[in-house]
Amino acid sequence: DTAVSQTPKYLVTQMGNDKSIKCEQNLGHDTMYWYKQDSKKFLKIMFSYNNKELIINETVPNRFSPKSPDKAHLNLHINSLELGDSAVYFCASSQGNSPAYNEQFFGPGTRLTVL
């Protein structure tokens, strides 16, 4: 009965590879997010989708491409991985796209290590 799930939990890969992280929520929410948490635990939003449409696209390299096949899924594809991409990536969801009023539910995170 996991609310927001991510796969894989851990991802270790070589520089230059392409990888994807999947996120699914079973809460019936219409908005989903990707956050990046660096080694100092600093958390920053990357993308936000509402009803499968991109509404937030922070300044991230265009090697990062989110894809939302439906409201329950938001996947993150990363091309040409670099050492600096190593981080924990969190998916989150909410009902409504106003974080002021709509609590965000976070997944358990995917720890990406680029060697």
């Binding site: 635990k41 958390l43 939003i45 936000s48 937030i56 989150a92 106003s98």
Partner: protein, 113 residues
């Protein structure tokens, strides 16, 4: 741009003692403020939020936060700490035009038995 600051990277408190985790904010309009908690190897969990109204906001797990407009602060408090409260705590502010949460740098709370 709106921002929050958490001046303490680490807070240690003895079990049973009151705890305070500090947060100050900088916003151009009315603040929308939040506290989230992150347990080891887990995602963030919502604790409480302030949008308007009573300056003392009550949240999950016995936590509360006090909004102080004159000091631009939103400190998280609990009267009696538990070892299980040990976690990483994030303060966040809502940025209206960007429709996103901006998080502070986090404070690691350790409750000692």
């Amino acid at each position: 741009a709106q921002s929050v600051a958490q001046p303490e990277d680490q807070v240690n408190v003895a079990e049973g003692n009151p705890l305070t985790v500090k947060c100050t904010y900088s916003v151009s309009g009315n603040p929308y403020l939040f506290w989230y908690v992150q347990y080891p190897n887990r995602g963030l969990q919502f604790l409480l939020k302030y949008i308007t109204g009573d300056n003392l906001v009550k949240g999950s797990y016995g936590f509360e936060a006090e909004f102080n407009k004159s000091q631009t602060s939103f400190h998280l408090k609990k009267p009696s700490a538990l070892v299980s409260d040990s976690a990483l705590y994030f303060c966040a502010v809502y940025e209206g035009p960007a429709r996103q949460l901006t998080f502070g740098s986090g404070t690691q709370l350790t409750v000692l038995p």
